[in-house]
Assembly symmetry: D2
Homo-oligomer: 343 residues x 4
């Protein structure tokens, strides 16, 4: 009954096999090996973007922050949802990589709307040089609140950004889960919806630690290679990142693993709602916020369920349940049964 | 005949096995898992430093730069050898992580001496507030020129730093190879010789990508955890770093692998010198700079030898030959034989 | 009828006289002259803080940002009001000087309350290392909305900061106008109310460009001198800053000038309210936000009144009227008369 | 007998008069006033550069560092002479403003040559992505050693920079003194010799604190305005910078004042050499390095001479004698007479 985070789960076996295979013999370092080149090509193919510039890094924090550093000057702002992960949960990583740009939280909650984004962009221009004016817009397809933005929502936000001449970044966390939920391709969720730079996250979906940053306009990638190096994210044994990504792409493993995680979450939601539990997020990919009395959380934790809880709202306490690719029906059933016993 | 770099070689099989083992089931993220705690303890034991603060990161660039950021304010200087890797080969990573500290190259070449270091520290104080005055000293046990500092050399440099109240950082690259060469323990090469923060590098010696940063005075580690996070180096699936390090420590694998690399290099040196080749470095661990005419380099490269060459000096061209743990006698013999054929 | 800003007005004549006097002959640079030392002592006396560390810089942006850089690590947050000048109007200067700390806007509007500040501090701790947790609190005595915080308000906010172990910065803009309004001493408005670092602003109150940064605990000033130098704010001809500040302190000119500005604003408020104009700010020092229909703004501007307007709210447009020390009764009467003609 | 620095002297009387005149009545802040516009135009005219982008800032540190921040990405290098002021005497200001670029000291001493610069640029490219590669070249016309570069020297260095595609910055310190020495126009010493951005310094030559940054290619100035603001160098009472610069340009005061300073230095050199004193710098503008035994320095200091001394070289101690516009014949004669008495 482990629902703490999709980064608490194991890597898929084929990832370890790919590592072992890639480990054979010598290979030039720093991405100058054949496997890394092959994987970059496969990512271009997956995103239907033959001209894209593609980079691998080990963590999502690095991927998102490095991408934003290429998009936004230090004296500008990055617009994101008030609760965006890059704003509330990265210990100022985007500020660090951009050299001091401001994250401009757009109200309210986990989602910007075209209206609130447009208003924030306008406000950023009201003070002239004293601004700071906007530099980029960052969107997350599966929000910190567990909701999934529709393609239309992404496209509408991108359109507002484009009106203002701002490039659009798509956060890589749960990229695959969103694709599965929306039944769309990576291209449809990114450049076809106006995204300029997408992070294709793997760490939360069955890899050990590997993310791809895809610049659809290679011109925007200026300086990425240097920034990756000086950030300490240019792996010398680069084939080790490439091997993970190769396994992830092979037979669309990324899609299959996200499908499993989402399916577990579907079961969990149905079971919770059947017991009358209020779920906070309207939609979901692989993450639910379930409101329960403190008593029930205590009981579940006592039975060995692992997940995070948050501050009380209206007498109930939100619990966050995240499914990963390895969350089986067994874990879901066990949790639901435990809940039933204590209801 | 692959001598390009010790980061071009494979990881040791036991590292992949440890990864597979660690991959089983769930584990809390961000270093809050049992394996990570166990490995930190083992590192404290290896370094005979029960009070040390220990952190794992994926790359040497990150390890060294993060350590230096804890030691040196942005308005101060880091003294290092003119040819130090952190100065010439990291795309300004230390400048980035410190927020703009200056790397102060101490002449000449790949090694500081107590005299040149003392003079540089004095010079940094000559301009008062305009300085910048010194903040830290960084030492490398196997220099960029392939030489190995003796324990006495490290201790003498540390003593000069201490006189001036400056903390001492020991670069992690080829740490194990230096230990083997010097026949000393990690403690003897670090805190017993006056080092305040050591990086225990693994990536160049049989790991996929994992380094340990050891603060012997935990007070100096203030902010490291936050800086690691905002630098994007706090692995969520942290057990994957810990597993590598566990394998590295098990049965002193780190020592065994370095011994193999150094032994291959010993054979190579003996063979080259037997053919009259001039080796630039006086001492060596696992890296040689051999001076050959351009014609011979061409011949060797044509026969499939892989290694880097540098700018001509006195009619000869230095070639850098690096052995890693997997460099067998076969590769060394093949290279020597090829050279003989073309001499 | 010039009400655009208190930085649009002239310097007081005695400031120019002091400059001329200080200009005679040679003086050591960089603050090592007798006049600078004398002025630092006078500031300590004014603030009843004989141990304080005192620095002069030319602009408020520099004064506030440099002070915050000493208080807050780059991986932490600075709590301030949502509309705080340092957050919305400084083009990321605090982010720049701190090396990427986050400004954490505390709702709502131009004022924090102990409750909203306490909640923000708690929220910053909810995510552990991923935070960023708090590093400092910044308070402004005359808010961007023109309101004046009471001593009690400042003390209550400071108390919340202290509970959490956070140092408190007091923004220097309109410091003198707040003192006059509150009828208090600089000490009462700063360290006696829990402030750790105060900026004593002069540029908006009759100087050319000079501000003093007062660290009541000299331990907090560590690095200020170096940061001022590397920020380019260590004037070589430092007596030119000191001379301005000397004139400002002489005979409490700072107090007299702020009294004049506030008095003009009192007259303006009374006159506007007599004509039924709604003033947005409850209290005021030398700045009013008056809501008028667009038609009246046009008429006033056409008659030569100079002031800023903002976005429409409920059918009316806020106009900002700022009085400085040189705003005479004539200008106020002229504005009120013009308004009357067009009402 | 005050020869400590040209920033220890007074401002010229006409500068104070211009300040008083500019101080009359209201003026829009932040450079949006008529006087500031007028002065920018006059600077364009002086530099024969009608398209140039021109900015005023209060200090040389700010002027040079902000200019370099526009030219050089944080992951690149700035080539400068080993003893360049920006490298050894600014407490890492260029590193701060660029966000961590490296200052690459080009041997030897106070002057780069086309050969040493070319070699440094080549070396910066040898390590590929790990570099850092070059971003800009910074030249000083009057070196830290007191020598004056000829127009040919500046042009030759610029040509090497241009070959490598690097923009050229000309440090603003003693710009006027160099022009006078070389008998050339500001245009001849800057853009006509290949300089892309020149700082026209005034603080060391009779102003209180004002420098102009001239971008001959306005495209290179991208971001300067924002960087100046976030650095705290956008004066709100901007006319106070403009007034100084206006006085400086009026009747070519800048040229007249530099002529006086250089003339005093000519007298001093002649007098010292007549007494057999060895002067270190081959050429000079307004600064000499005179080698004297410790005994004589003590005697001069005891008689009230003020100047800096440096570390002993070959039994003698270099003393630095700087003349400013206000150094009269009296001071020079007094120094020479005192020396004679003690010889």
């Amino acid at each position: 009954m482990h629902f703490a985070s999709d980064n608490s789960g194991p890597a898929h076996a084929s990832v370890l096999e790919a590592l072992a295979e890639a480990n054979d013999g010598y290979a030039m370092g720093y991405g100058n090996d054949a496997l890394s080149a092959e994987v970059r090509d496969k990512l271009r193919a997956l995103f239907e973007a033959p001209e894209a510039d593609v980079f691998l890094v080990p963590t999502g924090t690095a991927a998102n922050s490095l991408a934003l550093a290429c998009l936004c000057e230090p004296y500008r702002s990055i617009f994101c949802a008030e609760h965006a992960h890059i704003h509330v949960d990265e210990c100022n990583a985007p500020e660090f990589y951009t050299g001091g740009a401001k994250l401009w939280p757009v109200p309210h909650g986990d989602r910007m709307t075209p209206e609130t984004l447009r208003a924030a962009i306008a406000a950023s221009k009201a003070n002239g040089i004293h601004g700071p004016v906007g530099g980029a817009v960052s969107i997350t397809s599966v929000t910190e609140g567990g909701n999934v933005l529709s393609i239309d929502e992404i496209a509408s936000l991108s359109a507002v950004a484009k009106e203002a001449g701002l490039p659009v970044h798509l956060d890589g966390a749960r990229f695959a889960n969103a694709c599965v939920k929306l039944g769309c391709t990576p291209a449809e969720m990114s450049w076809k919806a106006g995204v300029d730079v997408a992070v294709f996250g793997g760490t939360k979906n069955g890899l050990l630690g590997a993310e791809a940053v895809i610049f659809f306009d290679p011109g925007l990638a200026r300086g990425f290679a240097e920034r990756r190096k000086r950030g300490g994210h240019l792996f010398s044994k680069h084939r080790m990142l490439a091997a993970q990504m190769k396994a992830y792409l092979e037979g669309d493993l990324w899609h299959e693993l996200a499908k499993r995680a989402n399916a577990a979450c579907d079961m969990l939601r149905a079971g919770l709602e059947a017991q009358g539990v209020k779920i906070e997020n309207d939609t979901h990919a692989n993450m639910l916020f379930a409101h329960l009395p403190a008593r029930l959380h205590d009981a579940l934790h006592a039975e060995g369920a692992v997940y995070h809880t948050f501050d009380e709202e209206d007498g109930l306490i939100p619990g966050r349940f995240v499914c990963d690719w390895s969350t089986g029906q067994g874990a879901v059933d066990a949790l639901l049964a435990a809940l039933k016993r204590h209801m």
